[in-house]
Symmetry: C2
Subunit: 400 residues, 2 copies
Amino acid sequence: MDDRLERYAELLVRVGANVQPGQEVVILAAPEHADTVRAVARAAYRAGARRVLPWYRDPHVRRALIEFGPEQVPGPARYLPEWIDTWDEGTALVSLSGDPSPGLFDDLDPARVAATEPFDERERYIQKVVSGVLNWVIAACPTPAWAERVLGTPDVEALWRLVGETTRLEQPDPVAAWREHGARLTGRAATLNDLALDAIRFRGPGTDLEVGLIADGRWGAAGTTTKGGIEFVPNLPTEEVFTAPDWRRTQGTVRSTMPLVLGGTTVRGLEMRFEEGRIVEVRAEAGRELIEADTTRDAQAAFLGEVALVDGSSAVGRTGRIFYNTLFDENARCHIAYGAGIETTLPALAGSEREAWLAAGINVSRTHTDFMIGGPEVDVDGIRADGGAVPLIRADRFVI
Amino acid sequence: MDDRLERYAELLVRVGANVQPGQEVVILAAPEHADTVRAVARAAYRAGARRVLPWYRDPHVRRALIEFGPEQVPGPARYLPEWIDTWDEGTALVSLSGDPSPGLFDDLDPARVAATEPFDERERYIQKVVSGVLNWVIAACPTPAWAERVLGTPDVEALWRLVGETTRLEQPDPVAAWREHGARLTGRAATLNDLALDAIRFRGPGTDLEVGLIADGRWGAAGTTTKGGIEFVPNLPTEEVFTAPDWRRTQGTVRSTMPLVLGGTTVRGLEMRFEEGRIVEVRAEAGRELIEADTTRDAQAAFLGEVALVDGSSAVGRTGRIFYNTLFDENARCHIAYGAGIETTLPALAGSEREAWLAAGINVSRTHTDFMIGGPEVDVDGIRADGGAVPLIRADRFVI
């Protein structure tokens, strides 16, 4: 176990965030993740980090606020969120994602859950990660409560095996395995770029959605590069190819194909209708209040920022599990995200003002929330400018 | 267990910090303390707190810095320590003291341990707690590593029983028990005030120390009051009566009678020699480097700020245990502290400038470190202005 933790930490530090000598490394985590935080700290110092700063956040303390706190929920805390604004090229970020207890807020008053959502913090955080200043990685950290949710039993060891499989940790040479896997995904992105598609169409039960693309927009995958030139792999695992759609051009209806755990709340049966890019209707069996609060955070929150393709043959898809953790579930299924667009889609615009991004079709928002819309019953086509359709995914497998 | 944790949290919030409606409650803790942090958060919100902010610090990450960090240790981290400066009358503080793993740094290079000591943070923290702005409590939180150290086995349940005994948690009405205990200690302080002593003398193996007192200095005990009038009990447990000596008037030699765990390092066999109030010689079997760094933090660090009396009949003394945690060990034995003096000793000076405190004999420093000097072989006398001696403690029992 200890050896695995050290190897996992090395993977996060060397392949994921790619920590550089002299950097300050911030580790976002919950108290349940302490063993992994400590292993990451050791790995980061061995990689030459100048300083490692763990930042433990505790969803159970937020639960106490929702349950027993004042009727009028206080505004954002001073001080800590502003720290995020100081992160710069000298900062690397390792985020141990995943609620330690997914669905911790499911039995609570949805209005109070939405009112206590740390939007201020998320906004500052999203701003940093989409703008290409930091090298960062989000990775998961098994806990008993998460294992219980995924496997029906608090078998942390079994959950670690799934994490090990999907992150290629148990391969003889994980770094080489990642290089090979990254090349495969980059090849798929190149194929999509060559197709010069005008839109992506999803069709399945409850879904008939056309997502319009940006003419010069690039598909990306796996690794990316900071403005300063540091290569990093922001998600471990990662199986998707993605681009930022034109925020003005999504049309139709979509039904999510997996539950979405967002800040401790499980959103189930999410359905949306889009008109001229905008989400004009939100329905859900559970968690609708939170999605409504999230999609109305600012004027652009109700427009798409990302569309991503992945099929059931991915390392995550092959497990056949619902992880109740977007990092994993989005790497088993095609997904879309409303909110901030991915700036690397139009590298020529790097450093531009907000207006230039919006004019080019890349959304600018304070939120970014992914949800899963692909699956065995959902066909995916690319649509060319001439209206011709190119089958991309059939029966949950890429056909390109 | 859960019920005990909730009762313990109520004791810390209601009797200890005495959290007021509308206050912001900061909880200092290690990740190992998460269960208690969460119970304190619930109790604080039930008491009307406006917001609860947990601040988890991780000594294992500091260990990683000492072991694997850069040769040149970085200066204090930006941002987090400055947060302390913003705490004010609207802030209550619950500090879950005690290293989760006492002695975690004992096998490391003492020079690097001393170089990574978060003096900056401690200084800001001490400044806040000695100045009477905050209502606060320090209390302990059992962990397996701490139980291992105290009991020789990681029996957390047995350590919880000792904590329950010494904090009166298991009494039928802990609040009433604390009121009664507080009255008993306050009575002892009143007796000492009536004696109008000029000095305290400690004599035992390796110890012949005279600590000169301030003419108008008051002895205090148990509860105290913020500038704003909130009563609180800053230490749970507490068994001592204490005052600030005249920093210019300590003379002689002293040998500590218990190990001292200071920021993760165990200091053993500590001996000091004083001349005209100043520590002029420090010896120790282990940990001397850390004490030398601490006593030279500023020009006043090498002078005393506190002298406190307690005997073996105290609730902590009766356990017969060494806790490797100053909060407990200082409540079993007479102790002294170098560094900042206790301002409540001279309430008439409240709000004065540094120079006025120093002129009156109350030390002003950025540090404050207690260590244990009493025990079965150490006699304690009060010395009157006319030179006459009043026996205070004999054979580890008060005789006043």
